[in-house]
Symmetry: C2
Subunit: 341 residues, 2 copies
DNA sequence: TTGAAAGCGATACCAA
DNA sequence: TTGGTATCGCTTTCAA
């Protein structure tokens, strides 16, 4: 049976309260006693028991404030499922969430949402947001006041965040390149559909792709690159036009999940979906459907459920346990084809 | 704040002990009182608190007995890592494991190992074993005595197991077929390296593969099929011979992880590894290395870590909580190429 | 600076 | 058939 605080107290000949004070650095213990306790802790191999800790911690419940730009964006559905699964599993331990969903990336809206969360006196923040001077300052101040901030899906390099959890976008791009290299046995005429030239993550997906194509010396012709701002309608128009101009296109690489439906509709209308191989990102509902219909051939996914689920768990154990998480968790690039969807 | 057993007791006007007896069906409560308690539980939305339960459960620690045919088989390394991670995380809750590792599938050895585990008075079993009349009988008797039995990696259809967790072998085969269909742009001359004709799982990997090749109408020539009994040396000899006889082979499908090193050595020696695309199973240490070296192009993995990790967690929560798991958990078929390994 | 004791939620056992 | 109480390991508060 494991060593408990009681054993330590008995061994050292002090009360459990004193041992607790030493272990959790609450102060108010003479150096001499503290040293003896610490030595006993070391020698006897004491490690605090979570069940006991959690039970005692119920006296002050934990609320985690979450912010996602998820309104109208199906990608975040799985992240949210992860949030709620974690909340449910940890609800016995006193955890509850406050989730704010906003639309898009308007700094004012994000700032207001963050302020609302903080006004509710949350014990931690878990956010996918953007860095503006105001937001960065607010989050850093929050962290400084002892309320940990976690960055999910979108990293915040200038914020003193407890950790980041999300995709490794470069690896995603590299995987796309690797797959295309494996699949490409003949001449490759490639059409790239990009989200936005100034969103860093989308750029990385192209950079990684190009890296691998070069490393593997996979010959290909880059027929066209279209930027869609993640808008399906824009993607549709652009794809239709480009495909009509270029009958030789046989591969399409879509770096942003929201564009896939538009691209596929164009392929369908031109009756070219059998002859073109499509690589896209994220297994949200629409994209799964498109894969089942045979429009998308390969989906590269980023374990979005796990992003939400793990984020909440890391925060909880940090709060209740003091367990410090790693600074960065990169979720895997998961390859899905029709058969293992 | 959530409803506790105390709240129920107060509302009904009985003691906490009585409420506990009703909730856990321990008997010895008058029907009238039981009905009132049950009604209160329903109305007030009571749900037992895990932290409290776990703490109380420490009075009788939980030991889980595990049996794996893992001796000399690197595949099981990750399953074992999953076991120990779960043990570590749950050690605060009084969980410890007894792991017996045996070599191969000798029924006598398995039976003896199971008997040893049971002699140690374990609270549950988690096993990867085979079905013989004796083993099936022993496990069924164990389950009947209230010691739950979980099947991991290898299902035991005739055993009254609490659940099975492991790969869906058919889906694995189907995924292999889907990938080959995507990659095959020209003529396909295929060499299949199988483990054993009478191990059901290996057969399913071939069946699923064939299904998809037919569904997708992917043309291919099956040049040869060799059975290796999962022995790397046998695989080496067979591959060398077949490759020499058939210079046209451009795809190799290896359905059993242990054969991959032998196959790759043959490819290396014949200087054909660049011209042949290799699909294999499981990301154990050797196979990962072979992929990095460029010998294996695609690895189909089965989340072996999760098999071990989840199995222990399901058993624990069943024992302490009464949470009944699903009857079957199929881990995903994870596609790994060099870029997302 | 330290000890003693109550309490978190559930369980188990003894007594009535 | 029931109630009362000690206990699991830890935190927190009140006294000393």
């Amino acid at each position: 049976m494991a060593v408990t605080i009681k054993d330590i107290a008995a061994a050292v000949g002090v009360s459990r309260g004193t041992v607790d004070r030493v272990i959790n650095h609450r102060g108010g213990v003479s150096e001499e006693v503290a040293a003896r306790v610490e030595q006993a802790v070391e020698e006897m191999g004491y490690f605090p028991n979570r069940a006991g800790r959690i039970l005692a911690a119920r006296k002050k419940p934990v609320t985690i404030g979450c912010l996602l730009p998820s309104d109208k964006i199906t990608f975040f559905h799985d992240v949210i499922r992860g949030f709620f699964r974690a909340e449910r599993e940890l609800s016995d331990f006193g955890v509850s969430l406050r989730l704010k969903e906003v639309r898009g990336y308007d700094p004012e809206i994000h700032l207001a949402a963050l302020r609302e969360l903080l006004a509710e006196n949350v014990s931690a923040l878990c956010v996918a947001t953007i860095e503006t001077p105001e937001i960065t300052a607010l989050l850093n101040q929050t962290a400084a006041e002892g309320v940990p901030v976690a960055a999910i899906n979108i990293d915040l390099p200038h914020v003193n965040r407890l950790f980041y959890i999300g995709s490794n976008y470069l690896a995603g791009g590299r995987t796309a390149g690797g797959l295309l290299s494996l699949m490409a046995k003949g001449p490759v005429s490639l059409f790239v559909v990009a989200g936005s030239s100034n969103i860093h993550s989308h750029h990385l997906r192209i950079e990684g792709f190009a890296q691998v194509m070069k490393e593997k010396e996979t010959a290909y012709t880059l027929v066209d690159v279209q930027v869609t701002q993640d808008d399906s309608e824009v993607a549709y128009e652009a794809t239709k036009r480009v495909l009509q101009e270029h009958p030789e296109i046989n591969y399409i690489y879509i770096t942003t999940s929201g564009s896939a439906p538009g691209v596929c509709r164009a392929l369908e209308e031109l009756e070219r979906k059998k002859r073109v191989t499509v690589i896209a990102f994220d297994d949200n509902k629409e994209n799964k459907r498109l894969m089942k219909e045979g429009s998308i051939d390969v989906l590269l996914c980023q374990e979005s459920f796990r992003q939400g689920y793990d984020a909440i768990n890391h925060l909880f154990y940090y709060l209740v346990d003091g367990t410090v998480p790693k600074a960065e968790y990169f979720t895997h690039t998961v390859i899905k084809i029709g058969e293992n969807l």
